[in-house]
Every structure is written in structure tokens, then in C-alpha cells.
Amino acid sequence: MTNDAVLAARDLVIEPGARAGGFLLRIRDLALQRGEVLAILGPNGAGKTTLLRALAGLVAPREGAIEVCAPRGVALVFQHPLLLAGSVLWNAEVPLWGRGIARRERRARATKALARFGIDALAEREATTLSGGEARRLALARAFVVAPDLLLLDEPFDDLDAPGREVLVQDLGSAIRETGIAVALVTHDLRQALLLADRIAVLSAGALAQVGARDEVLRRPASAEVAALVGMSNWLPGRVRARDTAGLAVVEVAPGGAFRSATPYASGADVWVGIRPEHVKIDADRSDPNTVGEASVETRVSDGALVVAWIAWHGLRLRTHLLAGRGLGHTLKAGDGVFIAVRPEDVHVLPREAARP
């Protein structure tokens, strides 16, 4: 382990938990540095919770080693945190009580932890009467009360409404920055994973399909399955046709429809082409040098913040995202004729043997 490593797991084989798919969990290599937030993303039943419990030392792996360098301890917040009968303050004190720390110090540290998550005013309340958001805050305060080196979170924002989630993410983000704690969180929801993550690990069918920096995983998913999980929703079969004068590959995805990409694959190679929806640019006046031609807006839906439009282009449907409320996001409607543009660096190309989602 390097100096800054908090956790290093190698060649793990872990028995599945009750809710996992029944397969063994196999993790070749997973490491976590001080001050880093790793989001472990995967569908339900992929083994996320089992992995987290193994990292916390609650489940012994059948094979392999988990090295944890956390002198102040590891804290795990369960998906449904256990609130003990008694006051909010008592709940926050419990980890310190379990370590035999005197009442006076316990109270002071627990009060500080509650304040960090904005619930110190609720200290005397009966914990079981808290709302979902307050309970979640209490669980996080209770995790921070021992000032652990490693914090493990199981679906930490799942039961919160969107506004509550945003505020909690901000508070948790500052707590992480101020304490320099290492965090691993598991979630099935990409948007929740992206809220805090520096790195993303994609867990699928009991194995890590990809681990990398957040943008790397978003832009260059290692397989069709990862692409689907990280929201690369334009995923098209294609073939490398030629190189243009700039040395970029021309990848045909439909008769007459092609994207340019810096892929190294040779002409004639069968490939998958992946493009994130936010990288499909609607070019109203055909001024973009990366234009890929004419298209028309098929459908458009908006949640008020984001516009999702499906664009018909050479017999294909491409998904694109725009900000709602201004510019094209405001004026675009179904049936509009448009041009679309995609930059070569936004065209991700993988050999075809990777399975389609």
C-alpha cells in the first residue's frame, strides 16, 4: 500500500449476500486513497452491499486480502440505518460509548457531529420520530463522530427527495473535504454516484467491469454494459470506413451517416460507437465544423431543468440533452429540421465483440 492508501483489496472472492444474485463476488484490485470519493455503481443484485460489508470487515472474504489503513476506524452507514431507542444525541454517542469513551467527551463530540449535519437542535428528540432526511443526517453524524479514516455508504441518498438530497450532498461534501476522509459509496443510480464521486467503479454480475476517474468512465466506458450504466445512451453498431485528411477514422453507422473519431481501429473493423447525449449538439444554423448533417426532431420531453430530445438521423434515433428554458432548449419542438454536430473526441469507439446492452 502507498502512503496515502486507506484501503487496498486484492484478489477477493466473497460469498454473495442474501439479496445478491447468487454468484461469487470477484474483485481483482480495488484501492482507495485519502481524501478520495469512490462511487461503486451497479444494478440491483450486482453485489454492491456485499462488497461494502466485506470492506467494512463485517463479512470475511473467502479468498484474498483487504488491507485497511484506518487507525481511527471504519464507519459503515447502512442503506436503512438502525436508529436506537432514545434521543438523537444518544444515537450519535453510541459509537463512542462502544469504544468506552467517558460520557462528558461523548456528549461534546456527538454534539459537534450533529452540528456538522445541521441537526444539533434535535439532540433531545426521540430518534425514532425523525423524518427520513433527519434520520439520514443522524446516521451520517453518527458515522463522523469517531472521525473515521474510511467511510462506507450504502445508497446514502436513496430515500431523500431531490431538494433534501442536494442540501445533504453539500453538507456531506464539506464534511469530506474538511476531514480528508476516504469514502466509498455504492448506488444503483448514476446521478447519485456523480454527486460526489472522484472515481467510479462499475460493478456488474459480481465483478468490476471498469474502475477509473469519473470523466474517463463517463466518456470511455469499457463495455456496452458499462456504457448503458453510465448513461452513454447513443450506442450504435458501425464500421470503420476510411481515414480523412486529418487522419481521423470515418466510422459509418448508417448508409450515408458517419462520425469521425480518433480511434486506432483499422478500416473494415466492426465497432460499437458510443456518444453521450450531451455531446450530440443541435446546430441550428449549420455553422459547426463538426457537423454530421441534417436531422429532424422526433420527440421532446422536459422536466423543467433538462430537455431530452430524440433526433431522427439517417434512419437512427439519437438522444440529446439540452438545458431547458433558454435558447434551443426553449424553442426546439417536434418536427423541427435541424443539423447535428459531434466532435471527434466525443465519439467513443469499441470493437464489436463487446456485447450490446
Binding site: 460489508r53 467494512a56 463485517l58 476506524g73 464507519a75 459503515l76 447502512f78 436503512h80 440505518p81 438502525l82 436506537l84 431507542a85 432514545g86 453510541v94 459509537p95 460509548w97 462502544g98 469504544r99 426521540e126 453518527r142 469517531v146
Partner: protein, 218 residues
């Protein structure tokens, strides 16, 4: 059995308290740890044990009395103790009646905890005796219910204690066996006096336990 004024009421009441108190203490001391262990450990034969406990909760006291009498009878396996028709025999019978109640209700209280309770407690860094204390603390309402149920079963029981105690004046007469005897003799005034004491005792104890239970919510 004396036809005269009989034993003072206060002596009978105190003996009842002593015998039932001993039985309750034993049943709780054995039953609660057993129920807690049975509630959160998984081992082969656990199902059978739980079924036995559940069956035991409905055991007719008169059958318990018969079995204890058979065991303590001079020729029985425990006959050498010479406990037949002594307060000890009554305590044994009452423990046999109350124990399944205590174990069963404790078991149910542990079962009502979240499935990952022990894992979460461990994840909070609480181990050993402190973890056991948390378990008791989290199930305390259920445990109080177990104590109240056991107390009710013990105090109101008459068949078994009469069979193994013999209702001997000055030795093994308790409130319930006294009521039974006086009623059979037609001495309703004495029976009513004992019944009033029994009711009062039941009420006071139940009220005290309820107060503890209410207080524990805070």
C-alpha cells in the same frame, strides 16, 4: 387442615410473594438470556426448540403439576431431595409454567428487531457486553411484557401449586390455594379476603411494571 380461624392472611400473602418472587426471578434469569440467544443465533435444531417453547406457552398448569409431582415423588428421579409438599416444589412448578412464556415473548421481541440489527451494532463498533446491553435496551418493552406475562401466570396459578405444595397451613398455603380451599369449605368470607389481597397484589405489581414500561420510553 384447620377448621379454626386458620393462618393469618398476612402470612399467606407474604408466602405467596416469596414463592412467586423466587419463581419469577428464576424464570426471568433463565428465560431472558435463553430467548435472546435463541432469537439471534442460527443453529441446527433451532426450529424444534422454538416449536417446543411455543408449545410450552400453552402448557396446562395441571399437567405441569403432575410432571413435577412425578419427579419429586419419593420414588421419582428427584425424590431424594424431599421437596414434595414444600415451597421449593411450588417454585419449580411455577418456573416450569413461566419459563416458556418468558422465552417465547423474549424471542418475539428479538424477532421484531431489523434483520441486520447485529451487523449494524457491530458496524457501530459496539461489541461484547455492550452489544448485549444494547440488545436488552432495544427489546426492553418486549422483555417487560414477558415479565408481566410470567408474573400473571405465576400469581394466578392454582392447580400445580396445590398438587405439589399440598396447601399445608403455615408451610405451603398461598393465596390461590387458600381461596380454593375456603371456597370448597363454604367459608366465603375468608375466600373473599384472600381474593381481595390477591387482586390488590396483582394490581399493584402490574401498575408498577406498567410505570417502568412507560418510563422506559423516554
Amino acid at each position: 387442615m384447620s377448621e379454626a380461624a386458620g393462618e393469618p392472611l398476612i402470612a399467606i400473602a407474604l408466602r405467596t410473594l416469596a414463592v412467586s418472587g423466587a419463581a419469577l426471578t428464576l424464570a426471568v434469569a433463565i428465560g431472558v438470556p435463553l430467548g435472546l440467544a435463541l432469537g439471534h443465533r442460527r443453529f441446527p435444531g433451532r426450529g424444534l426448540l422454538v416449536a417446543t417453547v411455543n408449545a410450552g406457552m400453552g402448557l396446562p398448569p395441571v399437567v405441569v403439576g403432575l410432571l413435577v409431582a412425578l419427579a419429586l415423588w419419593r420414588s421419582g428421579p428427584l425424590g431424594s431431595l424431599g421437596w414434595m409438599y414444600t415451597p421449593q416444589a411450588m417454585v419449580i412448578a411455577q418456573v416450569a409454567i413461566a419459563l416458556p412464556l418468558v422465552v417465547g415473548i423474549t424471542l418475539a421481541a428479538v424477532g421484531a428487531l431489523p434483520g441486520d440489527f447485529h451487523l449494524q451494532v457491530r458496524a457501530l463498533g459496539v461489541r461484547g457486553p455492550r452489544a448485549a446491553w444494547l440488545l436488552v435496551r432495544e427489546t426492553r418493552r418486549g422483555l417487560l411484557a414477558a415479565v408481566i406475562a410470567a408474573l400473571g401466570g405465576i400469581l394466578s396459578e392454582v392447580g400445580a401449586v396445590t398438587m405439589v405444595g399440598g396447601n399445608l397451613e403455615g408451610e405451603t398455603r398461598v393465596l390461590t390455594s387458600g381461596i380454593l380451599m375456603y371456597t370448597q369449605m363454604g367459608r366465603f368470607e375468608s375466600a373473599l379476603a384472600l381474593a381481595a389481597v390477591l387482586l390488590g397484589l396483582t394490581f399493584v405489581l402490574a401498575a408498577a411494571l406498567t410505570a417502568v414500561q412507560q418510563g422506559s420510553r423516554r
